[in-house]
């Protein structure tokens, strides 16, 4: 009739202010954990977004390359050997570099990521680029990433209204012919897409025979790993052949090792967990301490230790429920705010929601386990 759970609810809800404070502690913890882990995931996803956009089955990189954002070049002639394999259908090249984009409105320069790809067959997932394939072949014709930061000025809007915009990049006058929506990352504030020939015009100091990335499309049914091993012999020591998955894994590994994303945001989430733990523990502990005579009385009257322990654990579980859902909603709001502010996509995943919910239960459960030790010391003989 009066389950320990019901008593737990009575005890928690009796003092509404205390309940609100306790729940608020959990809310903050849940929100911090969700937001920190969300940003961590978002930063990670954005950083490997370029690698994920590669649709080629195999890629060729320099053996010195650790990440494609700071790639070392290798001789383009190596790529010409690869076509001799029966499994290779197409070999493409890709160039990447950091340029300086001069905002035509305030005349200030901002760094921009520049991609040189074959617009006819980019072997990258760049939706919309095919419409401009022919235009991009023309000299100094460039596509702008509509999702670039505002620091470049209202380029997207201008293009929509006026069609084209002449800008200065790397001290060279180019024409933006339109924009496509690709997205930026912590490595780049904005993107420009152009043909390899235009890319070389943009970077006159580069070795004309060097390429950043080779892209290989295989025939249907070819085993990428087998072909990779075969092609590795063709390029020898001068380049490395990777499967698409290897490229993505290498990028993730690079971010993990070189950018303190895991540490910073993992730390943030851990602090959230700790805050929640301390708040819930404090509340449960004072509840237990304040009710020691009553608990001892219940024991004297024949209530078991287990009944009282379940009562404390139930309070912890109730708090985790009461805290999680508002925390979850707040986190969704903050994701939206962050998405707008940082202009990177942050989204909630089922896995993260479930994971943080589990963490919340663990957090409250641990607090209960620590508080419970106090309940055990309630000695019924002391009531007299």
């Amino acid at each position: 009739m009066y389950s320990s759970f019901l008593l737990a609810w009575y005890q928690l809800s009796h003092n509404k202010v205390k309940l609100a404070v306790a729940a608020a502690g959990v809310v903050v913890a849940v929100m911090l954990m969700l937001v920190q882990l969300g940003i961590r995931q978002g930063a990670m996803d954005n950083s490997v977004a370029v690698a994920r956009r590669v649709t080629a089955d195999l890629v060729v990189v320099s053996p010195r390359t650790k990440t494609i954002f700071a790639s070392a070049q290798f001789p383009r002639r190596l790529l010409y050997r690869l076509g001799s394999s029966d499994d290779v259908v197409e070999v493409g090249e890709m160039y990447m570099g950091q340029g300086r984009f001069r905002n035509p409105w305030d005349k200030l320069e901002f760094p921009v990521s520049i991609y040189g790809i074959n617009p006819q067959s980019p072997m990258m997932n760049l939706p919309g680029i095919e419409r401009f394939a022919d235009q991009l072949e023309e000299i100094d014709r460039v596509l702008f990433d509509g999702l670039s930061r505002k620091s470049y000025g209202p380029v997207g809007n201008y293009l929509k209204e006026h069609g084209t915009l002449n800008v200065e990049v790397n001290l060279r006058k180019i024409q933006l012919i339109d924009s496509i929506e690709i997205g930026i990352s912590i490595n780049s504030d904005g993107n420009l897409f152009m043909s390899p020939a235009n890319f070389r015009r943009m970077f006159p100091d580069r070795q004309p025979g060097s390429v950043d990335l080779g892209l290989i499309r295989l025939r249907e049914g070819a085993d990428p790993e087998k072909v990779r091993d075969q092609l590795s012999h063709y390029v020898g020591q001068e380049a490395k052949v990777l499967t698409r998955d290897q490229l993505i894994d290498a990028e993730i590994l690079f971010i993990r090792e070189n950018a303190p994303i895991d540490f910073i945001f993992g730390m943030g989430a851990a602090i959230g967990f700790f805050i929640g733990f301390v708040v819930v523990y404090q509340i449960l502990y004072t509840e237990v301490t304040n009710h020691m005579p009553q608990y001892a009385t219940l024991k004297a009257m024949g209530f078991s230790d287990q009944y009282l322990l379940r009562m404390v654990v139930s309070q912890a579980l109730i708090l985790s429920f009461l805290g999680f859902f508002p925390g979850f909603v707040l986190a969704l709001g903050l994701y939206r705010v962050a998405t707008n502010a940082i202009q990177m996509q942050f989204s909630m995943t089922v896995g993260r929601a479930v994971g943080v919910f589990a963490l919340t239960m663990v957090m409250c459960g641990l607090s209960a386990l620590v508080a419970i030790r106090k309940v055990k010391t309630a000695d019924p003989a002391d009531v007299f």
Binding site: M1, L7, Q11, H14, P293, A300, A381, V383, F384
Partner: protein, 232 residues
């Protein structure tokens, strides 16, 4: 109640010794305590503080373990009982303490009804009927849904009396139930307790200092320095 069962003592202790502490700090508080309480009897245990009354009460209430001597309460041998047995015995005893110790987050009705959690054999409706009945007989029919904070000291102690009696215990143990009350409400509570216990033929063992309530006793046991002095 049959004659045979009423003849069997509810409490029977033989040669109980009890000490606190170990080694050099060991202090014996009960010496060779032998006492019997029969069914339906109201026995008061008096004596100066430190005389061991309360310790004796905690032994009888199965709140401490008997280490020396024999103690039978409600036909169970507490000197051989396990902790689990002790908890079982407690469920058949009604306790009234110096402090009411009501759960502040539950109403008078809920505090009393809570006791049926230990007696799942009683149906929900029967439990609430008995609760209201008993709270009415202690004069709190208009305070059923009050939280303890809104009750006076005497009213709280009456709720505690109702809580101790509601599951029809076979023995009531009370430790200075009037100590925290003024003389008038103290007297009320004890009179109520006496009447209700008489109705149910339920024996009471009560520790008290309060000379004003000695008249309710069938028998008064005086303790001093851990020994039973005289039986009046």
């Amino acid at each position: 109640m049959t004659v045979a069962s009423s003849e069997l003592p509810v409490i029977s202790s033989r040669h109980i010794n009890f000490s606190f502490g170990e080694g050099d700090l060991k202090k014996q508080v009960l010496f060779d305590v032998t006492l019997e309480v029969a069914a339906g009897e109201i026995v008061l245990l008096t004596g100066p503080s430190g005389s061991g009354k309360t310790t004796l009460l905690t032994l009888i209430g199965a709140l401490r373990k008997v280490r020396e001597g024999e103690l039978e309460v409600l036909s169970r041998s507490l000197h051989t009982a396990t902790l689990h047995d002790l908890v079982d015995v407690r469920r058949e005893i009604g306790f009234i303490f110096q402090q009411h110790n009501l759960l502040p987050f539950m109403t008078a009705r809920q505090n009393v009804e809570l006791m049926f959690q230990l007696h799942p054999e009683v149906s929900h409706s029967e439990a609430s009927r008995l609760t209201v009945e008993l709270l009415t007989s202690v004069g709190l029919s208009d305070r059923l849904d009050y939280y303890p904070a809104r009750l006076s000291g005497g009213q709280k102690q009456r709720v505690a009396v109702a809580r101790a009696l509601v599951t029809s215990p076979k023995l009531i143990l009370a430790d200075e139930p009037t100590a925290a009350l003024d003389s008038h409400s103290g007297r009320d509570v004890v009179t109520l307790l006496q009447e209700l216990a008489r109705d149910r033929n339920c024996p009471i063992l009560m520790v008290t200092h309060d000379p004003r309530i000695l008249d309710i006793a069938d028998r008064i046991i005086n303790m001093e320095d851990g020994r039973i002095q005289a039986v009046a």
